[in-house]
Symmetry: D2
Subunit: 290 residues, 4 copies
């Protein structure tokens, strides 16, 4: 259903780096928004594009805006989603790359769709996020929220890693593999898919756990409820690299435990009414038409 | 949590055909139950094993019993589950084959576990079932409930079939394939797994849709919420064979539509407290140990 | 290198059934050939298209021609290839469907390429064929040559089949599966690919053995030298259907043994010099460009 | 056929590091060999184990020996194979780990089998090796021979890499992936298998090319003749790490080209007559028995 609760006074803009399209779109977009008496906040990248020195960190943009326009591809959106953690601000993502799974708005539809979004006439989708916590010597060292996936992968020095996985305290198995991907439904069409994982609809309340190049050939992707607590024990020092959404990384130590569960936050995506999941999928994956 | 609501007065017994083990187990089991003043109902197969003429159809056994003991493998359990549709009777499944995913009780634990089950001290798990409806010329021809899966597969005369799939009324794609499997979480470790589908935990509220030998290489398994209505259009006359749980089959006609959704019924499985999903999985799939 | 040995006096024509394009192409093609003082032989299908009663069986066409023009898709070519067994006649295959792996000549290039072919200025590729022999009670019941693949698959009545496989007399394993595909390199881009088999270049002297939906998850495709003798034992009566190139079929009996080896014959395909295997592959499989 | 050409006067020994079993086997083995008037050469690791200071580099051991006993697992054998490049010395590999694909001799059979090997009564298998050449600015920077595989994989800093592949000068495609594996038949049961590659019998004259987590879902393993020249262009600086047999590595630069072809050398493995490829495979992969 449409989301009538959005009372937009301030619009943030987050842009992809090194994007000719963003540079061209930005000035008219800012003018268009100001004409409508809206306050406009730019992230540092967007500010650079218009030679302004008023760029804010993405977190600040998200915090102070009622709606964030994302100019970029799925990568820029993932970054904006993590910056929005805790602020529940809807993201209006304009696709500047190939057809994106997440960046739903085409450039040519930018103004009419934005018009609708500002009137609260578009739907917003709540997307499940995951939260990964690094435990070291029994203490929480760090936590990260992500919209797509948590990846534990071998570092350059390792040939294969052992990852000891528990689900809700029960032993699952030791994955001997290049790595392991825990993906949200949103992340299921990303790296997880390349590693052989299934496509999970955004409305399924589940995580998928998919090994990367597993040594044991029977190790298939596993789908678990999003209420699960997935705990992964790292064995060898310096062997394992943890990444969130392919963007934030951390080298783990021997004995570290990574605990992954549903984040208390969601990402809110603004979607045109007629954009259907399988239309994007068919287009991107060249599935058969009617 | 344990299921204290079972007030067992009548115990049904359903047996696998041609099973030496069932023949041996049956007489002492019947005696054991009668000693406890329980009424015992036998299905036709069990009756044959003890040279009785009082065998009932499995549907009747399920209808008139407070608990059904299943002696067999996963196949016997699937049959018992379908016979129990609408009666909400818990199934106590004794494994007479290799380690079964569904037949949780080992023969050597039969009496102690049955003792616990009769006292209501064991957990019962509610397992999602699916319901498949065949529509022809706008009318419902037939409906089937299943615990594992709905399979639409090419018949012998066909080389490949076209299956036009819709989800909640939206077009998904035309699968050009040997067939298509819609599996419940319970069925995800069956035929679906052989066709490349993921393992779905019984607690996930979802169906998996997995093509068999798809012509389009990008056609990956898809996980959809169990609230979905999956509709499949059959194109060519006599090309497509529909099967439920690998046991009940029907040749479809051109223009037939198969509509698959969550059944209004569940299967209730009695499980020993210490039997964990991943223990069975590791054992069956030879996954790595600690 | 170009094949200068072709001294063409008689040209056979083999056409796809129910093909509008073939109907249109045929009269001018026949005229074009006769103008060059070539004798033209038509298969039954082609004869029907021009309302002639002089149609021959495809075997006869292949036997009496110096070059066979195939008007159709990969299916028509497979049929022509089997009809040509023992006659070593080059096949000039004009593609009337989507881009074919085997039907190398595009319609718009028909006359210039045919001109070159008749002058012996085009290359011919020798394609490995397989030969499958059915042994029953120690006797050879039947033999079949094929260009693409030998498939043993479960018949409609079977849920899964056991196929006992030996390689050069040594036990390989019992495949518990929906079936088994033995493919030549030519066949590796056909059904074998849908079942998860690799792409094998036509210049590799090997067969691939790929199970269909194997029960054992570790059962991966196996590549064996084309000097191998692959023997497959069928266990259950009426459970197994054997097919060659997806076109010729036979229901097997319990105890039957199917012996598959390199055929003593090859298929000779005439190919334009600039048609590259990977160009076709990229086009068909939508692989990434430069 | 048995290899009667071995006239053994000097036996080299190469041992796995940190192996309790090797430490225990070594002294009696040396004594056993000296009793037979054979000269014994130790690699540095073996020398350490018997507190000798006469350890030689593995290359020297291979160069000066008529037969090399390898005590270790597949990893130690791969290292010994590369050390033996150019010396055509047979390797007698004793398995000190789990069942190895390459280390054919079980510890309990060491002396009887070694007896046979010294008499020339055992077969030797010639195993295809590959040779990888790094070209930079049109010059050959380095060459490496390997028995198992050449792997080009993304370095830690990269998220995905673009690898532009040519076969015999013809463009294949740009792989967008975590990496690419070119495996010999020997290497097909190693890392290539984990990445989804097929099993290739040692007697097939071919390489397999298998992408690791390809971005394009249609990118299937490709089998090419071992006469092929495979050329891979690296695009981004510092993004790609090249590894031979999982043991020798090198970070590549932007514009580097890696050319992979059949090595002019083979590895000679001494194999017991009754050790069959599929026996090892079934045991390791838990394939179905008879």
């Amino acid at each position: 259903m449409p989301d009538q609760s959005i009372q937009v006074k301030t619009v943030g803009i987050v842009s992809k780096p090194r994007s000719e399209s963003a540079i061209n779109l930005l000035p008219p977009l800012i003018a268009w928004l100001k004409q409508r008496d809206l306050m406009v906040l730019l992230d540092e990248q967007s500010a650079t594009y218009v030679c302004s020195s008023d760029g804010l960190e993405r977190k600040q943009v998200a915090q102070q805006s009622d709606l964030v326009v994302v100019l970029g591809g799925d990568g820029t959106l993932l970054s904006a989603a993590r910056a929005s953690i805790g602020h529940d601000v809807p993201l209006f993502a304009v696709n500047l790359g190939g057809l994106g799974f997440l960046t739903a708005i085409q450039v040519e539809d930018l103004y009419p769709q934005l018009e609708l979004a500002l009137r609260g006439a578009l739907q917003t989708e709540q997307r499940l996020m995951l939260c990964a916590e690094i435990q070291r010597h029994g203490e929480i060292m760090d936590t990260f929220d992500g919209l797509n996936d948590l990846v534990l992968a071998k570092s350059e020095i390792a040939r294969i890693i052992d990852l000891e996985v528990y689900l809700d305290g029960n032993f699952v198995c030791v994955y001997k593999a290049d790595g392991l991907i825990i993906a949200t439904p949103t992340g299921s069409t990303g790296y997880s898919l390349s590693a052989g994982g299934p496509i999970v609809l955004p409305t399924v309340h589940a995580f998928s756990i998919t090994p990367i190049c597993p040594h044991t050939l029977t190790n298939r992707p596993v789908i678990v409820p999003d209420s699960s607590v997935i705990e992964i024990g790292v064995r060898e020092e310096g062997s394992t690299y943890m990444t969130i959404d392919g963007q934030v990384g951390k080298l783990l130590q021997s004995g570290d435990r990574v605990v992954c569960r549903k984040s208390q936050f969601c990402t809110r995506l603004i979607r045109p009414a007629d954009l259907l999941f399988f239309d994007v999928l068919r287009e991107k994956l060249k599935w058969g038409g009617r």
